[in-house]
Amino acid sequence: MIAFENVSVSFDATEALSCVNLQVAEGVLCALVGPSGSGKSTLMKLVNRLVEPSAGRVLVRGADVAGQDPARLRRSIGYVMQSTGLFPHRTVAANIGTVPRLLGWDSSRIATRVADLLELVQLDPDLAQRLPGALSGGQAQRVGLARALAADPDILLMDEPFGAVDPITRRDLRAELRRIHAGTGKTILLVTHDPEEALELASQVVVLRDGAVVADGAPAALVAEDAPEFARTLLGGGQPGLRRLSLLPAEVARDACPAPADAPALPEGATLADALSRMAETGRDVLALGKGSLRLEAVLARGR
């Protein structure tokens, strides 16, 4: 769906990306992580031609973007900016309806779509006629998300979309993104500085450092013991072992034989980290999980 082939980008003297090879398959939510200045935004902007490669090629839906009309390409790809980038002179409704208007939808279709989107991102319909200046940070980011989704693009680029909001709003927005991704199967590139967010939302995590890809894989693989040290440190939050357990469902270590009658129970959908926590607080090394059981050794065996 999106492929980077030997892509380099230089701005004047600085080389922002050097020889990047990367594939993101259709329907995947891919998180880009890395220190400030490592080239995350640049990599993302290659997809909709806001940045041009100085070498290599970028393929979107199987076609080289270099041959495509930038305006048409961009209308077909949703883009959420870190600073929201809402148009200050346009109402929330007009902001959200930007791309449909550019695509020539008629006004009643746009109005219906805007109403649907306000509901999708859980914004009060009364906000539709407000100007962006009169929104809270969290509301503005929701409007930015709705604007990117307006023409139902199959690809969504999100550059630190939940950067400037409080942790609670952030958790809500994250849940919404997960819901939208699960419901629509869009291909999503997400830049984030929050390792937890990357590991929790993404099925593919790409770690960038000084313009190069240093790790690319499933979240649990990048905090495993054999993962590159830089990725482990960046994503592990000081406890990569626990991080990894928190990414694995408890079912993977389940034993079919039933637990002792007095064993504490673990709820459905719990992770191995939840299991370890439950064991720590009850002092028991075996838990009941559904009809089977979960033993400490089995949990620890999965940690590596």
């Binding site: 806001l50 980038g85 148009f87 200050p88 791309v99």
Partner: protein
């Protein structure tokens, strides 16, 4: 509407002496009309040119022209209007021609400066968002940059208009019928009353022009308050939003 009140007061000062042996009010009104026409004939092309140049030098493709345009505009304003009119007489003959040229040179600078400053003050993320969502560069200019820049551009237009009305009086030296005519007559005949009438009438017209433009702008702002009120407020919230 302070400006319009001042204009009315000054108009009274200009017209009243007419009934006591000064310049006749009827002729003064005729001169005022031709004065206004002359000022508009100079300021309208100046405004269009200033706007076009301002847009041009803020485009990526026209950025190289920026120093040249700045220098041109500064030079145009450094020449005193009297000199500009005098220099243009040999080329254009007497009458409106040289005056319009002087007004044109004078009007470009404030509009050009204001347009450049206003376009540069457009939040870069709004411009980037416009391109990222799929506006063509021309579309982004029309739909996002110019609406956001408009209040500041309007300020430049106001300055240019008032300057043009005041400067058009100089046209009398080149034989154009303007409110400068009674001033020139008064100076030649040592008649202070005529000088006072001409000066007061010119000032009245300048204030009236400013008042009318402000009223128009107020009407525009009432319809599209968003464009003038929100850049400031969105800046404020953007700042408070930073973690």
């Amino acid at each position: 509407m302070m400006a319009l009140l001042l204009a009315a007061g000054l108009a009274l000062v200009a017209l009243l002496p007419g009934w006591f042996g000064g310049f006749p009010p009827g002729r003064l009104l005729g001169l005022a009309a031709s004065h206004a026409g002359l000022a508009l004939a100079g300021v309208v092309p100046a405004a269009l040119l200033g706007l076009a140049l301002g847009v041009l030098v803020t485009r990526p493709s026209g950025r190289a022209l920026r120093p040249a345009a700045d220098a041109l505009a500064a030079a145009a304003q450094a020449v005193p209007p009297v000199v500009a009119v005098a220099l243009a007489v040999p080329a254009f003959g007497f009458g409106w021609g040289p005056t319009i040229l002087a007004l044109l040179l004078y009007g470009i600078m404030p509009v050009l400066r204001a347009t450049v400053a206003a376009l540069e003050a457009v939040p870069p993320e709004a411009r980037l968002a416009a391109l990222a969502l799929g506006y063509t560069p021309a579309g982004a200019l029309r739909e996002v940059e110019l609406p956001l820049a408009w209040p500041l551009v309007l300020d430049g237009l106001r300055v240019a208009l008032v300057l043009a009305v005041a400067t058009a009086a100089v046209g009398a030296l080149a034989g154009a019928a303007t409110l400068g005519t009674p001033i020139v007559l008064g100076l030649q005949n040592q008649n202070q009353l005529l000088v006072l009438q001409g000066a007061a009438a010119t000032a009245a017209l300048a204030f009236a022009a400013e008042g009318l433009l402000l009223a128009l702008a107020g009407y525009g702002a009432g319809r599209g308050r968003r464009s003038s009120a929100s850049p400031a407020s969105s800046d404020g919230t953007a700042q408070s939003r930073k973690p």
